[in-house]
């Protein structure tokens, strides 16, 4: 078992403190507002947007978890040994990002505790949400089992490999089901399409890679202090694969936009509004900028932060955009619904990011996330 030398851990400690502060602040404000006003602390509404920013957070982090499992599987399932030095970190992070997503969702649901019995006891087999819940729950168990295995040094036994493979398959099914939850909605053309699960998995891989690169950069003070294997990976295969993935995704986003603008289908008029917003162009600048940084293998931490920011906007535009053209609501509802998230909703975003980064930093401090098999 090779435990590689880490830097002084200054960045990890800083992230840990920031995550802790974010957790305390966001939980404090969110709980105060939710306990005093219930969900009227959100700017969601029956005549407006039903799934607001808390659902964006959930989709963002749940898919990041799927993406991290994909990154971890490069070494652990597909046998590319060069990727081992970040595998354990990715497995851990896939668990904490999923918890981060669930936390935001739980505070959004009307009855989160009722869900725990109502879904298993009454499972609606034709509901994508039901299957998404099942697959993510099964993944959580498999992911924990896999992490315990590798934490105890068992990287390569056949049981360990089988758990890893099963975890990968359930994560792909879960991310795909989340895509189907939107893609099956023929009544909302902005979402509808049989390739949405694929789009979700592709973009999941991008955010997963971004988190993997970012926390790896943060784990070591600089490239020079990285162990040789990590440095080799970070200077070659990882940014190259990441850039390729991102390049394809940028193309897909471009085509989605053009199709949305081109088509006259009722409900797609929202694309005009999306493209008219500066956020769309900020997303484009972040993703394209990151693509070139990755190609040149420069400023990887910055590139990954740009990808995380860009895809957060993308998830927002996707989840919220699909609801902006109102259903049959009459003339007192505008042509396009105006929605801005409330402070409480932003606090759930802060909460999810805090859980993810605090969870990672704790893992980095306590769980030897840089461990890799020796052979």
């Amino acid at each position: 078992m090779a435990t590689q030398t880490q830097g002084s851990g200054g960045a990890v400690s800083a992230v840990l403190m920031a995550g802790l502060a974010g957790l305390v602040v966001s939980l404090g404000i969110a709980f105060f507002n939710l306990l005093s006003g219930g969900h009227s602390a959100f700017n969601t509404g029956s005549d407006g947007v039903s799934w607001g920013l808390p659902v964006v957070n959930y989709v963002f982090f749940a898919l990041t978890s799927t993406g991290l499992t994909l990154v971890a599987s490069v070494a652990m399932t597909f046998g590319n040994k060069a990727w081992y030095p970040i595998a354990k970190r990715c497995v851990w992070l896939s668990l904490v990002t999923l918890v981060a997503g669930f936390a935001s969702l739980a505070l959004e649901l009307g009855h989160p505790f009722r869900m725990l019995w109502a879904i298993p006891l009454n499972a609606q087999l034709v509901s994508p949400l039901n299957w998404m819940g099942i697959f993510y729950a099964v993944f959580l168990v498999l992911g924990i089992l896999k992490f315990l295995r590798i934490h105890n040094g068992d990287w390569n036994s056949s049981t360990s490999k089988q758990i890893g493979l099963a975890a990968l398959v359930t994560e792909l099914l879960a991310g795909g089901m989340l895509g189907m939850a939107f893609g099956a909605m023929a009544m909302r053309p902005m979402w509808y399409g049989n390739l949405v699960p694929l789009y979700f998995i592709l973009t999941a891989a991008c955010t997963g890679a971004a988190f993997a690169v970012l926390v790896t950069c943060l784990s070591y003070d600089s490239e020079e202090t990285m162990p040789a294997q990590v440095r080799t990976l970070m200077r070659g295969p990882l940014p190259t694969a990441f850039a390729g993935l991102l390049g394809i995704t940028i193309l897909v986003i471009g085509y989605r936009t053009v199709i949305g603008l081109w088509s006259n289908a009722d409900g797609l008029q929202v694309w005009d509004a999306i493209v008219a917003s500066p956020w769309y162009w900020i997303e484009a600048a972040l993703l394209i900028g990151a693509f070139f940084l990755l190609l040149q293998r420069k400023a990887l931490a910055l590139a990954s932060v740009m990808v995380i920011g860009g895809f957060f906007i993308d998830r927002y535009d996707f989840v919220i955009g699909g609801q902006l053209a109102p259903l049959f609501k009459g003339s007192w509802v505008p042509d396009l619904i105006a929605y801005t998230p409330s402070t409480t909703e932003w606090m759930l975003t802060l909460l999810a990011f805090s859980i993810a980064f605090l969870g990672w930093a704790l893992g980095e401090k306590l769980l030897k996330l840089d461990a890799a098999p020796q052979d």
Partner: protein, 252 residues
């Protein structure tokens, strides 16, 4: 078993909102959250725009997408064709609100539409969202009837507390029949120009079935495949109402 359905005659409807008001009282609805609503929209441009209106309850679809997406089966369809919500099973995920093409569902934990917040003025007991000064005697959460609890979704239930008590085999629940009047949904019973009909769609001799075939009943957004059990009929004249073709209310 009956398959309950409704026919709304757009030629007779005056857009008076008596149905919405009756529904609000019958079902303890908060302002702006009427199960039954009349939507107003403008057609045509200046100088000859016309104001149109369109009464819209839940369609109680034959293929209800709201039910298919509900992860807990809280939304279900009864044997007599009514789509209901079991408030004890609903987790408030709001997926049904996303999936209903007709926008007829309500989550009540939201910013109030008008001030003062009625829910604060008449605070609900226990889990109930509010405590209306006048309330119907029935509270049946398993069928989504009564005062809406917090954290769940609600919608038109075709006044299930009334229609479910109607004598079996009744072809039409007609408010002009004194023996049936208590079983008639509130909106149908109250409609002054008698624009609403309620009956068994599976019975070819019911008045609703005959109206649909004689006057070529149409359904809202039929392309969604949800197959509403609410049909609209109209005389087709320039002055009469029509089923809007798109969901958006774009001013033409």
């Amino acid at each position: 078993m009956a398959k309950w359905g409704m026919v709304i005659d757009l030629e007779k409807c005056t857009g008076c909102q008596a149905c919405s008001t009756a529904c609000q009282m019958e079902n303890n609805r908060l302002p702006g959250e009427n199960y039954q609503d009349v939507l107003y929209y403008t057609e045509g441009r200046q100088p000859t725009p016309t104001l149109k209106w369109f009464p819209r309850p839940c369609m109680h679809c034959e293929e209800p997408s709201c039910m298919h997406v509900c992860p807990t089966k809280a939304t279900y369809k009864t044997e007599d064709g009514v789509v209901l919500i079991d408030w004890d099973k609903c987790i408030g995920c709001k997926y049904c609100m996303i999936a209903c093409p007709y926008g007829v569902r309500f989550y009540t934990d939201e910013k109030p539409l008008i001030e003062p917040n009625i829910k604060q003025v008449f605070k609900g007991d226990g889990d109930l969202s509010w405590n209306p000064p006048y309330k119907g005697p029935q509270q049946d959460p398993k069928h989504g009837v009564g005062i809406q609890p917090n954290g769940v979704v609600s919608k038109c239930n075709f006044c299930y507390h009334k229609i479910s008590k109607a004598p079996k085999g009744t072809p039409d629940l007609d408010e002009s029949n004194p023996e049936l009047v208590e079983y008639v949904p509130a909106c149908v019973r109250t409609c002054a120009p008698k624009a609403r009909y309620f009956g068994d769609l599976d019975n070819p001799n019911s008045q609703v079935s005959r109206l649909i075939s004689d006057k070529q009943g149409t359904r809202l957004l039929d392309h969604t495949g949800n197959k509403p059990q609410v049909y609209y009929v109209s005389g087709g004249g320039a002055a009469s109402g029509a089923v809007p073709g798109t969901r958006s209310n774009k001013k033409a």
